[in-house]
């Protein structure tokens, strides 16, 4: 019962953040809503026993990525926006409808075609256990070592690339 309450609470927080991000016109508020959503997701991660990931989620997303977003927003003072949503009522309806259709389709597939999974998933409610960093680390530094290294290189490249891009004067058509 407590678990259920906790789940619903976290789920509602997450969904609220997501919907708010989608709807509020001001980008700063949208960013703030996303932070809320991220923290909710982090809670869900913890709920599922991924305590390390949950921590990383808060630190990386809420702490770093979104701060970066907000910083950019504030740097350029992008608060005032004349047009938050794309134009055309018809196309908007069409887009929403098809995303709804996609969602329905996904759920439908899950229920109808992969129903053999559902019993397993439905019967066993997750027990809260800690994974711990140790196990993660063992896996990460043995089996996934190579990918881990590659990611390191990727991050380096990205760092250089981001700096180069940000320093550029913008646009490829002319040089000042």
């Amino acid at each position: 019962m407590v678990e259920a309450l906790l789940f619903w609470f976290l789920a509602l927080v997450t969904l609220f953040g997501a919907v708010a991000m989608l709807l509020v016109p001001n980008p700063i508020y949208a960013a703030m809503s996303l932070v809320v959503s991220m923290i909710g997701i982090s809670g869900l991660f913890a709920f599922l026993g991924a305590d390390f990931i949950a921590g990383v989620q808060v630190i990386v997303y809420a702490g770093a990525v979104l701060v970066l977003f907000v910083m950019v927003l504030m740097l350029f003072d992008l608060k005032s926006e004349t047009q938050a949503f794309s134009k055309g009522l018809l196309s908007r309806i069409f887009k929403v409808a098809s995303v709804g259709f996609l969602l329905g389709g996904l759920i439908g597939v899950m229920v109808l075609e992969f129903s053999w999974i559902l019993p397993v998933f439905m019967q066993s409610s997750p027990q809260w256990t800690m994974t711990g960093v140790k196990k993660m680390a063992q896996l990460l530094f043995t089996e996934y070592m190579f990918i881990f290294q590659i990611l390191g290189v990727l991050l380096l490249v990205v760092a250089v690339g981001a700096v180069a891009l940000a320093r550029s004067r913008g646009g490829t058509h002319e040089r000042a």
């Binding site: 619903w8 789920a11 989608l22 959503s37 869900l44 997303y61 990525v65 992008l78 891009l165 913008g170």
Partner: protein, 108 residues
Amino acid sequence: MKGLELFTTVTYAHFLFLSFVLFALGVLGVLLRRNLIVVMMSVELMLNAVNLTFITFAKALNQLDGQIFVFFVMTIAAAEAAVGLAIVVAIFKRFREVNIRFFQFLKG
């Protein structure tokens, strides 16, 4: 499992469906919002939805690989955010706004 039970017992299916909804919201953000930064935030949301699925399966199947993948996805997401924001900065410098319409200028 009927009626109230749906709310009182939490199963893995709940997590899955929640991630579907989050993903759909992210897609809507990408499709509807005009501000590039918000679009990027929506992408982050989609990534998180996927992460949630990974973690759910990891737990359900009692394997850690899912978590490792989430770890990687986060790294990529951070990288993507950095590059994306750098592009946004570049766009802003040129157009004094970060509307998605910028990409129309890339048309050949």
